[in-house]
Symmetry: C2
Amino acid sequence: MASQREIAERAGTSLKTVSRVINRDPLVNTRTRERIEAIIAQIGYEPNQAARMMRSQRSDVIGFLAEGVATTSSSIDLIRGAQDAAWERGKQMMLFNIEQGASSHRLADSQLTAFRAEAVIYATRYHQAVKLPQSSVPRILLNCFDAEGRHTAVIPDDYGLARSLADVVFARGYRRPVFLNLSETIVAAGLRASGISDAAREHGIDMTRRIHTAVEEREGHVTFVADRVLSRLMQEPEDTRPDVIICGQDILAMDVYFDLSELGLKVGRDIAVVSFDNLDPIASLLKPGLSTMELPYYEMGRAAMMMAIDSPEGPAETLRLPGRFIDRASLNAPST
Amino acid sequence: MASQREIAERAGTSLKTVSRVINRDPLVNTRTRERIEAIIAQIGYEPNQAARMMRSQRSDVIGFLAEGVATTSSSIDLIRGAQDAAWERGKQMMLFNIEQGASSHRLADSQLTAFRAEAVIYATRYHQAVKLPQSSVPRILLNCFDAEGRHTAVIPDDYGLARSLADVVFARGYRRPVFLNLSETIVAAGLRASGISDAAREHGIDMTRRIHTAVEEREGHVTFVADRVLSRLMQEPEDTRPDVIICGQDILAMDVYFDLSELGLKVGRDIAVVSFDNLDPIASLLKPGLSTMELPYYEMGRAAMMMAIDSPEGPAETLRLPGRFIDRASLNAPST
DNA sequence: ATGAAAGCGCTAACAT
DNA sequence: ATGTTAGCGCTTTCAT
C-alpha cells in the first residue's frame, strides 16, 4: 500500500500537505487539495492506522468484552448498539467473547492493552453484580454493575419495566396474576418482583403467594419447572385460578405455552401470557404472538459506548434505561 | 505505559536485548532474561501493537465481516469458531456487523485496510452465492461462495446433511415424509431437496409432490405458511397422510408444532417432526424436544479462520463440512 | 498556505 | 550473547 510520501512525490508537494488533506485540515489551497484527493482516489490509498496511532498517541480503539453475550441472541443488541455508536464517532470497537474469570478474560485484556484501547466496555448476559480485577484501562459496565459503585454502569430499569408491564396487565382488566420469576440469584428477578408487587398494590392486589420461581439450577444446568407450578395453580377453583401469567423471560413463556397446551388451555383465549425480552424470533412466532416488555439492549449498548468515548474517566454513575411494551395477541382482554 | 527503552535503562541492557526477551528469542543469557522479565512483570509492561505492526509490516489482524450474522443466534457459532481459532494462532480478529452492499460494508473494508488486515472472512447468515466487489485483501467466504469460484469458501454440506437426516428417518420406519422447505431462492433449499429425494429413492419412496415451500416472501418480509400446507395434508386418508414432517429450519419446526397442535395432533405421538439447525435454546425447549440436524457452524468458523491464516492467497477451494444429528423425542418410531 | 525536522516504539539488518 | 543503527508511516512542532 502506498504511503503519504509517495502521494506527496506525485503531487509535487510536501508530506505535510498530504497529511493536512487527509486529516481535513482547512488550511490548504483548494487546487492543491483537489490534486491530492485525485491521486488518493486513483491509487486507493488508506492511511496506516498503526502509524497514526503511534504518532498521535491515540488509538481510537474501544474494547468490548462480552461475557457470553454473543451466545445469547437477545443480548446481541448490546453489541450492535455499541458498534453503531462507535462507528458514528469514528472509533474502532474491538470485540472479545470471554468467559467470566477465565483465561480468555486476561488474554482479551492484554490484547486491548497492546492496542492501547482508550476504554473498555464489559458486558454480561444477565443483569448482575460483578467484581472485576483491577485494570489500567477505564471501564464501563454494561448490563452489570460494580457492587462498590466504582464504575459507570448502564443497566435496564428492571423495576420500572416490571411496573409498567404490570400496569398494562391491570389496565386490561386482569386481576389474578401470577409471576413466574427467574432464579432469585438474578438481580433482575428481585427488582421485577418489587415492581410488579408495587403496581399490584395500587390496584388493591396482593402479590404475596402469587410469585413463584420457575427455574431450577442444579450443577450449573438450568431447567424450567413451570409445568409443576402451573399444573397445581390451574387446578384451583375458577375464582382464584390465575387469569394471566407473567413470565420472567420469553423462553420461559414459550415453555409455559407448551405447559398450558398440555393442560388443555389455549393462550389468548383461556388465559393470557406476558413476558420480558422480545426475543427474536421467538416472541413473534409463538401462537398467538407474545406480548412482552422489550429490554432496551440496543440503547444500552449505544449509551455505554457514548460514555466510553466521552467520559471514560468520568465520575461513576448508573444509567437505568426504560423498556418498551410490545403488544401482541397473548394479552387480549380477559374472557371472564 | 512504559516502553522497551525504559525497561532497558532499568535493566542496564540495550533496547534490543529487551526486544529479544519479549519476542522469546532464545539467544539471551538466562540471568539477563530473568532480570528483564522481572522488570516487565513489575511495571506491567505490554508491547505496543501499533509500533510492532509498523516495524514488522505484519498486522496479525484478520477481519471478519458478518452480513447480519450476529443478529441470528445460530450463526453466532461461526464467529465463535473463528475467534477461537484466531486466538490459538496469536491473531487478532476484528469483527464487523454489516449489511450486504451497504455503506457499512465499505466502511468496514476501509477500517480493515487501515489496520492492514492480512485477510478477511466474509460470512453470511444463509448459505448463498454472493458477488463481492474487488478487494486488495485476500478473502475467504464463509457460509457463502463466489459464483465464479474465485475464492476459497467454507460451507455446510447441505446435500449430505439432508441425506443423512433422511436416512435416519427411513431407518426408524417412517414411509410418508413431507419436506417443508425454505424459499427456493436459498441455495440450501435445493441441495436439501436433492439429498432427501435421493435418500428416499433408495428406500423406494418418490418425493415428487412431497416437497412444499413453507415460506412466503413479500416485500422482503418472510412469513411461514406451513399452517395452510399442513391443514390440507393432514386431512388426507390415513394411509397417505404424512407420518413425519421434515422442516427446513428449527424456527419453522416450532411454527409447525403450533400448527399441529391447532389440528389436534401431538408431536412425538401422532406425528414426527425433524429439522435442520439445532438452534439454541429452541430445539431443546420445544416439547417434545426437536430432533434436528445440527449445522457445523462452529467448525466452519474455525476452518475459515485457519484458511485465512495459513493460505489466504492459496488456490480457491471449497470446503463442505458435515453435520451432526441431534436425537430428541420428536422422532420416536412411528405409531402406525 | 506550505514545509522541514523530529520522533512515536518497535524490530530488521548488520555488527561485535 | 549483546549492541548499534536505521527506519516503518505518520503527526506534532515549529518555521517560513
